[in-house]
């Protein structure tokens, strides 16, 4: 009997996430396209694109302990690369994008030229964020810059990036960003089937990366990453270089954000500084925190929920949305640091505490008690993702 139970438990641990992924795939890839209106499907596609970036944050922050507050930058690198290609497609061969004639003298900077080429654009989307993240990550992680320093530096990066975009109106469209596209890789953007196809690509990418992350987290590397988050010094004494371990997660997160940005642009039809600046990056974090930073599904579901909540609330009460977002941070981080994903295990630990009250003798100090609670919390987090 007990053996049966443990084997069931093991099966659940191993294949549980797969069942959820399949269920999500059914919802996103089969149910949604057939029953949602084109407008709502487009919105869901946008949230899927944001979810890709959020899943990257989940990897770097939830599993790696690196709070990336500038994920918008990498989202923007992918998004702008895609937008530049589509802008050139819209202009036609040999022509110059319209805004350059509007704001500048109608000449195109030379670094725009290669983006006429589709495959080149795709390579840039995948490689450029990896290179930027590698250089930045190598510079600061190797020097053991971590915690708040890391978070502040990445946010400063987002601020600098957005400022730069606004300042270079002749090259990047400035505050208005890049918009009014017509085709993507030769497909008409106004075509109904193309719209649906774009949504399916976005949703498919989300499912694909869920599978990748699932395997990533189960791998030896995934365990090392969590170990680095929880006890970096111990990992160092065991002979690993924590910087390398974290660097991999940071770069992977950047590439995921970039892919998200690239698929966001044809669906949303626009990318601008407000999609990539510090507030946008913080909004991504809000979704991750809400869903559960270290769980597999939390960041993705959280990002979609925040996306929906934002459009629903900000349409009706624009000012309330800001209050809501602020309150979300305060309440979730303060009371539920493991996000919604941890509710189940949190409930379990509370009930078990009631059932068998902790043996609180006179010797247990408050500090020890706190430590116990911390461990429980960690335990709950690692359970939540299983």
């Amino acid at each position: 009997m007990i053996r049966l139970l443990t084997s069931v438990m093991r099966l659940r641990k191993t294949y549980g996430p797969m069942v959820v992924i399949v269920a999500l795939a059914l919802v996103l890839l089969v149910w949604a396209p057939s029953s949602l209106s084109a407008f709502r499907l487009g919105n869901l596609g946008k949230y899927c694109a944001l979810a890709l970036a959020a899943m990257g944050i989940g990897l770097a922050w939830g599993r790696g302990g690196m709070l990336v507050m500038g994920q918008g930058v990498f989202f923007g690198l992918g998004g702008y690369a895609m937008a530049m290609h589509m802008k050139l497609e819209a202009a036609g061969p040999g022509k110059v994008p319209d805004f350059m004639a509007l704001y500048g003298d109608g000449t195109m900077p030379s670094w725009w030229e290669p983006f006429r080429n589709g495959p080149f654009t795709v390579v840039v989307i995948l490689v450029l964020p990896a290179v930027v993240a590698f250089i930045l990550g190598y510079a600061i992680l190797k020097r053991r810059v971590k915690g708040a320093y890391f978070a502040i530096l990445t946010q400063a990066l987002a601020v600098a990036f957005a400022t730069l975009l606004i300042a270079t109106i002749k090259q990047t469209g400035g505050f208005n960003g890049l918009n009014t596209f017509t085709t993507v890789f030769g497909h008409n953007l106004f075509d109904k089937d193309v719209k649906k196809g774009l949504y399916l690509v976005a949703a498919g990418l989300v499912i694909l990366f869920l599978v990748i992350l699932w395997q990533f987290y189960r791998s030896r590397y995934g365990e090392l990453l969590v170990a680095t988050r929880d006890a970096e010094e111990r990992i160092r004494f065991l002979g690993y270089d924590p910087a390398n371990i974290k660097l991999v997660a940071f770069v992977a997160a950047a590439v995921m954000a970039s892919i998200g940005g690239a698929i966001f642009v044809p669906i949303a039809g626009i990318i601008g500084p407000t999609n990539v600046d510090a507030p946008a990056s913080i909004l991504l974090i809000a979704g991750v925190a809400l869903g559960g930073r270290s769980s597999l599904f939390g960041p993705m579901l959280g990002a979609i929920a925040v996306g929906y909540g934002r459009s629903a609330l900000s349409e009706q009460f624009p000012t309330q949305w800001t209050y809501f977002q602020g309150a979300l941070f305060i309440v979730v981080i303060l009371l539920l640091p493991g996000g919604v994903a941890s509710i189940g295990s949190k409930f379990k630990s509370v009930t078990s505490r009631f059932r068998s009250p902790a043996p609180s003798t006179g010797t247990t100090t408050g500090v020890e008690h706190e430590h116990e609670r911390e461990h429980e919390h960690d335990h709950a987090q690692s359970e939540a993702l299983a």
Binding site: A139, I140, R144, A148, A151, A160, L164, G326, F329, I333
Partner: protein, 294 residues
């Protein structure tokens, strides 16, 4: 001469505001490990305190003088409220304080928008700060000089408090070794609250200076918080000396870069300089010596 003096003087004034914003950050970060992203909003609160004071007392000169203590106390009390309501539950999770205070800053910004409107309000500068003084041929506005005087005065007051008062001794003891301070009978909880009050209040004073230069605005804190944090990071956490030097350096470097290129490029290059600096000295200019591994 002009090319050097202008950015030097303007940059020093910017550095003075950064210093007032960064002092609170470095105190709370150094002492409690709390990263207070809402500190920029305390600047904003200080600016609105100056605005409201001016609505009540119409004379610009008198109102500015009164606004300074008012801003200090209002921002300080808000900081105290923040500590008592949210931060005190989070001392075990310092990194998470960053996100909670981001939430607080969003709420405060929206509150300011709802109370005073999304548009900024002008604050009339008193006559003794609206003139200009000629420095090597550059017509330097008095209000920048006023900002520097304000920052230096606040810094002197803070150092005096830290050095000579019993509160100050307790704060320094808590920063150096919290457990040992506790065993010696220092109520570190109380000390934490006082530090929060002082740090937030100083940001409020900085807000008055900003109000005189550029008026009020619900989002004025957002443009100062990141540079202020870079100042803290460069200066070394919990170090007044380092914060002063770093604030001045960041202010002047940004001013020079703005002069040579443009405001936006200056931000980008300043960021790159800070990252490069951190790869050389990740602990900042000055550090408290500890035996911890990291």
């Amino acid at each position: 001469m002009h090319l050097l003096t202008t950015p030097l003087l303007t940059g020093t004034a910017t550095g003075a505001i950064l210093l007032l914003a960064a002092l609170g950050l470095t105190l709370t970060f150094g002492q409690m490990g709390v990263i207070n992203m809402a500190n920029g909003e305390f600047l904003m609160v200080g600016a609105y305190a100056a605005y409201v004071t001016q609505q009540v007392i119409s004379s610009p000169g008198l109102s500015t003088v009164i606004a300074l203590p008012v801003a200090f106390v209002v921002a300080g009390l808000l900081g105290l409220l923040l500590e008592a309501s949210v931060i005190q539950w989070m001392y075990k999770r310092p990194l998470d304080t960053l996100l909670v205070t981001v939430g607080v800053s969003l709420v405060l910004q929206q509150l300011a928008r709802d109370l005073f409107g999304a548009q900024g309000d002008p604050v009339t500068a008193p006559s003794w700060v609206s003139g200009r003084i000629s420095v090597f041929g550059y017509q330097w506005p008095h209000r920048q000089l006023f900002t520097i005087v304000l920052a230096v005065g606040s810094l002197a007051a803070l150092s005096a408090v830290l050095k000579y008062s019993s509160f100050g001794r307790q704060i320094r003891a808590t920063v150096q070794n919290r457990e040992l301070a506790e065993t010696l009978g220092v109520s570190t909880r109380k000390v934490d609250r006082i530090t929060f009050f002082l740090g937030s209040g100083l940001a409020g004073v900085g807000g008055v200076a900003i109000a005189l230069i550029s008026g009020t605005n619900p989002t004025l804190g957002t443009s100062y918080i990141i540079p202020a944090f870079l100042v803290v990071v460069v200066g070394g956490v919990g170090q007044l000396k380092g914060t002063v030097i770093a604030a001045w350096a960041v202010g002047v470097v940004t001013a020079f870069l703005t002069d040579w290129t443009s405001g936006s490029w200056a931000q980008v290059v300043t960021f790159a300089v800070v990252v490069t600096f951190l790869t050389v000295r990740p602990q900042g200019l000055f550090t408290v010596r500890t035996r911890s591994l990291a």
